[in-house]
């Protein structure tokens, strides 16, 4: 299908884009890479009257590391994240995750800001933001706001962004010393939206977790930083402890049912991922036994 008719304007600066958003509000949509917006418009799920194209704003591009904080411009494309030595060094989880975001032709245009603003519950990057403790930087009519990732994602395609706001950047603390990423998702084909996925990062000392963050996606209406991680920190992990954690995980999940998977299947796969993640991060193949391998 084709998109319905709309007007189009190229923003010349952040201020210009904000001015246009203030004038047009909910009748307008911000266009960056267009890899989520344009499909939705082609399918007539969205019909904005005006597209404000911010893709030419160089001030929203690029990755900077300063004082152990990674600053990522909203227009940084997936392919830029994938190839960035700074991301590989300071946020290796993000590099691993981006390889699963869609396909090369889409990664060449899709942007991190667009993906986060879209907030598809089955997409990879929102969950990574929770796991990595990201701060989302927003510019709006009242100036700049900084929102923690855990307060940013509010539901399916729903975020803390208002209709006059522009997501301008993301800040990530550099991955802690000794931390290891774990990323895995189940999908029908490589690059498709996940059936269930896990973006995790852990620090292990003397065979125990001293830190563990588990960012699940496609297990509910928004990404989930699972509290079950707390159960696994500081203890000697036995198959019994892991089984208890799997059971506790069940209480946190509220998976949707769709044509890809039933809610029960998603619950099962989330436990499989918890088992594989724990086993991989602790280098304990013996934990991959039982029902969830």
């Amino acid at each position: 299908m084709k998109a319905s008719a709309f007007d189009y304007v190229r923003a010349t600066s952040i201020e210009d884009a904000l001015g246009l958003l203030i004038s047009h509000g909910e009748r307008a949509k911000v266009l960056s890479g267009g890899q989520s917006l344009l499909p939705a418009m082609n399918m007539r799920l969205l019909a904005p009257e005006l597209l404000i194209d911010i893709s030419g704003l160089a001030e929203l591009c690029g990755i900077v590391v300063k004082a152990s904080v990674l600053s990522i411009g909203a227009l940084t494309r997936h392919v830029d994240l994938l190839r960035s030595p700074e991301i590989a060094e300071y946020a290796p989880l993000l590099r691993d995750a981006v390889a699963h975001v869609a396909h090369p032709a889409i990664r060449n245009r899709g942007t991190i800001g667009g993906s986060l603003a879209q907030a598809d519950p089955a997409s990879e990057l929102p969950a990574c933001m929770l796991t990595l403790g990201a701060t989302i930087i927003i510019r709006g009519p009242a100036g700049e706001r900084r929102i923690a990732a855990r307060e940013f994602f509010l539901g399916i395609y729903e975020t803390a962004l208002g209709s006059r706001d522009l997501l301008v950047a993301i800040e990530l603390p550099a991955a802690p010393k000794g931390s290891t990423p774990f990323f895995h998702e189940f999908a029908r084909r490589h690059g498709d939206y996940a059936i269930v996925g896990l973006a995790a990062q852990g620090v292990v000392e003397d065979d125990r977790f001293i830190d563990l963050r588990l960012g699940y996606f496609a297990v509910g209406d928004r990404p989930l930083l699972a509290r079950v991680a707390d159960i696994l920190v500081g203890i000697a992990i036995t198959p019994a402890a892991l089984a208890e954690a799997c059971s506790a995980l069940d209480d946190e999940l509220d998976p949707l049912e769709d044509q890809q998977a039933s809610s029960a299947m998603r619950r099962h796969l989330a436990k499989v991922l918890l088992t594989r993640c724990t086993s991989a991060l602790l280098a304990r193949p013996d934990l991959c036994t039982g029902a969830f391998v």
Partner: protein, 161 residues
């Protein structure tokens, strides 16, 4: 409201000036306005890969780019790659191995395969499959497509024609 807008771009080495409506996507512009019908339109929401073209050297879905966004860009379509001889060996390998049946996906497959071979001269079969993961062949001839790309990669590395 929604009046045609002037754009100027380079398509396969030729300067093109046109007036387009904002809603027109690049795939339809190439096919309907420039009659470059080698770029195919399948799903129109970025899933099938049949409309893959190059914009400023990067492969993209032309159904997910507006023609108006291609203003001042450098576009290369399957016609351009074919006429310049850039992928003649890849095309020959596709013919040789019967890597096309109905042919609908073939332009997108060739664009994506060439993109891979430019970035990675000796990809293994897994890497080929991963790079092609965004291109559907509904005749399901994937095995032959992967074979043809693998053969082309090997011949290029060995410097054979």
């Amino acid at each position: 409201m929604t009046n045609p807008v002037a754009i100027s771009l380079n398509v396969n080495g030729e300067r093109v000036e046109a007036h387009v409506l904002p809603r027109l996507n690049l795939a339809d512009f190439l096919r309907d306005h420039l009659k470059l019908t080698g770029t195919h339109v399948g799903c129109e929401h970025g899933v099938c890969g049949a409309c893959t073209v190059r914009v400023n050297g990067d492969i993209v879905r032309s159904c997910l780019v507006l023609a108006i966004q291609a203003h001042e860009a450098n576009i290369e379509t399957i016609e351009g790659l074919s006429d310049s001889g850039e992928i003649s060996d890849l095309q020959a390998a596709f013919r040789e191995r019967n890597a096309l049946q109905c042919g609908f996906c073939t332009p997108g497959m060739l664009m994506t395969a060439q993109d891979l071979l430019k970035q990675s001269p000796s990809p293994d079969r897994d890497a080929i499959r991963e790079h092609l993961s965004g291109n559907y062949c509904r005749c399901t001839g994937y095995q032959a497509i992967v074979d043809a790309i693998e053969t082309t990669a090997r011949m290029r590395v060995e410097g054979r024609p």
